[in-house]
């Protein structure tokens, strides 16, 4: 019994310590943002890596998400004779929830894991120490541009997800199920407001921060060789994904 209590206590302390380190890490990164030098090349490279190179997977996820929503929604709504509400149902689901969440999760899987692995390998090969010895802040050089890029790329990817997702719903609803295009888009126009779009964008901004923050943190503090990199990568993906879902709930409950 004593051992169990000790174990719980030790676990709690570890979690608190880890959270403290996480927030200190973020604080150091945020502090470094306004200080020169500004490495625009580095930033654009990361925007390309996180944003441009995630386009295909985002587009693919978005189109099938829109299609399956339309398919499921149509058969559900048709039971109540409310097929006309399919457009708003698909659009609101995507813009408010699925767009930001799935974009965040896809970026975590595609780019976040790579960020952790890259920084982890740099850590175990002493390249991060080498930067320190050269008098170059590794946080400013490696982490800040990645977080800034995440804050820009994930909202843009979410907007893209929303557009393609709604279009995917259109393909199924109008082309496959024979619904009128005017009904589909007309419903969207009347039901979707600026508040919905802003909610989605705020979520995507938070998810962009979560993905890049957690993944760079895990990579930056990787230890114990190749096994450590693998553990850090797994842990980063799991933690980012779970935090995205938890954060999604709280933002939704605040902004409803």
């Amino acid at each position: 019994m004593v051992d169990f209590v000790r174990y719980i206590g030790s676990l709690t302390l570890d979690v608190i310590r880890e959270m403290g380190r996480l927030f200190l890490f973020l604080w150091e990164v945020l502090r470094s943002v306004p200080t020169p030098p500004y490495r625009w090349g580095n930033f654009l490279k990361q925007v390309h890596f996180i944003g441009i190179r995630s386009l295909f997977v985002i587009a693919l996820t978005a189109v099938f998400t829109g299609m399956v929503l339309a398919l499921q929604g149509y058969y559900t709504l048709s039971r109540f004779g409310s097929e006309a509400l399919l457009g708003p149902a698909v659009a609101l689901s995507i813009i408010r929830e699925l767009g930001p969440v799935l974009s965040g999760l896809m970026v975590t899987g595609r780019a976040g894991s790579a960020l952790t692995a890259e920084l982890g390998i740099m850590r175990i090969r002493e390249q991060i120490d080498a930067l320190d010895v050269m008098g170059i802040s590794p946080l400013k050089f490696l982490v800040t541009p990645r977080i800034e890029a995440g804050l820009l790329a994930v909202p843009l990817l979410t907007v893209l997800f929303d557009v393609i997702g709604v279009w995917g719903g259109y393909l199924v609803a109008v082309r496959l199920l024979g619904m009128s295009g005017g009904t589909y888009f007309g419903g969207i126009e009347s039901a979707v407001g600026m508040h919905d779009i802003v909610t989605g964008l705020i979520k995507s901004l938070c998810f962009g921060l979560i993905v890049t923050w957690i993944c760079t943190y895990k990579g930056y503090f990787t230890r114990r060789g190749a096994e450590g990199v693998s553990q850090a990568t797994t842990s980063a993906v799991v933690m980012s994904s779970v935090l995205i879902l938890i954060c999604d709930y709280f933002i939704t409950s605040i902004m409803l």
Partner: protein, 344 residues
């Protein structure tokens, strides 16, 4: 006798106290080249660089002119180095460039450094030797502020690293270059960009000047032609030399080398030792070398520090360590299985 380059422009070699002869003068004094050949080499350097020259690179020019072969040049430099090494004594009155006072470091509940006191003499080559896990790399990381001691103080010149702000620490680190055990070259950059990196990031030099400096450093480590290769395309020896070029490009005062010959075959190991000697003779940087190449390393350093189980067992001239009567040191140098260190 006054020669161009030996007095009108201070070379890096002339900068160090107690080394009044330039590299060219040393080569002449050792009978490796004639005064006439040296004059011609210095004139050629001047002509090639628009009136300015660096006396420490005169050896290269002499090789290019065919006055001396590369290996003969290295042998000649080593001969001069050996004379200095044998004459070296610890001078207590001279302030060391790095000092560690009662430094304690505990990692994973193990006392890796246990009240370590050591001094690194300026403008000399110091070797730190000892068993694996004896605290050598941790010591090196303390010297450059990558690790902070749990107790004790690390001094670089007159400055205690633990009391410095991060900005001041960055300034002090500007005096150092560190060659990491694995090279720590950036995988995403080729050799040229790796070597150019500290110049691009830390100096406002024009790209043309950076190119000149990088190529000169690559020439010094015999890596010309390899500048477009990526680290994963290099052999172990090339990787170490590229990392050495990156360490040298910023003209540091203090060069720290963490096992520069680890994992290399004996010929490459010897070549790296010659390269370190060549670099020292040309630049007179303070060098600290961690090495397992015992007893060979005693030929290549003035001063030796033996670390064992986090404590300094010996600190003194390299010629004295080989005659030490300490059983641990004797066993370590001979590589005996029997003795106070039990590994099997």
């Amino acid at each position: 006798m006054s020669r161009p380059g030996s007095s009108d422009e201070p070379s890096r070699s002339a900068r160090a106290e107690g080394f009044p002869l330039s590299l060219g003068d040393q080569l002449v004094a050792n009978g490796c080249v004639t005064p006439r050949q040296l004059d011609l080499a210095l004139q050629r350097q001047r002509a090639g660089t628009g009136g300015t020259h660096e006396a420490h690179l005169v050896g290269r020019t002499l090789v290019e002119m065919g006055c001396i072969t590369q290996s003969a040049l290295l042998q000649c430099l080593y001969h001069q180095f050996a004379l200095e090494r044998d004459a070296y004594t610890v001078d207590e009155t001279v302030r060391p460039v790095i000092r560690m006072e009662r430094v304690v470091k505990i990692l994973d509940n193990r006392r890796v450094l246990d009240a370590v006191d050591l001094s690194i003499p300026a403008n000399r080559v110091t070797a730190i030797i000892g068993m694996s896990g004896g605290g050598k790399s941790v010591t090196l990381k303390h010297m450059v502020g990558l690790m902070k001691p749990d107790q004790g103080t690390v001094w670089v010149g007159e400055e205690a690293l633990g009391r410095l702000s991060s900005r001041e620490l960055t300034r002090v680190r500007g005096r150092f270059s560190l060659l990491f055990q694995g090279g720590a070259l950036f995988d995403s950059m080729n050799v040229f960009d790796n070597v150019a990196f500290p110049l691009r990031e830390k100096t406002g030099l024009a790209e043309a000047e950076i190119r000149l400096r990088v190529m000169r450093c690559l020439e010094e480590v015999n890596l010309v032609g390899m500048e477009r290769k990526y680290p994963d395309e290099l052999s172990g020896g090339m990787m170490k030399r590229a990392a050495l070029a990156r360490a040298l490009v910023t003209n540091p005062e203090i060069l720290l080398l963490d096992e520069p010959t680890a994992g290399l075959d004996p010929i490459i190991e010897n070549a790296i030792h010659y390269l370190i000697c060549d670099t020292f003779m040309r630049t007179r940087y303070t060098m600290v070398v961690i090495s397992h190449a015992v007893p060979e390393i005693f030929n290549w350093c003035h001063h030796v520090i033996v670390l064992h189980r986090g404590k300094v067992l010996f600190s003194g001239p390299s010629r004295e360590v080989v005659t030490s009567r300490d059983p641990v040191i004797r066993q370590f140098i001979r590589g005996d299985l029997d003795g106070p260190i039990q590994v099997i």
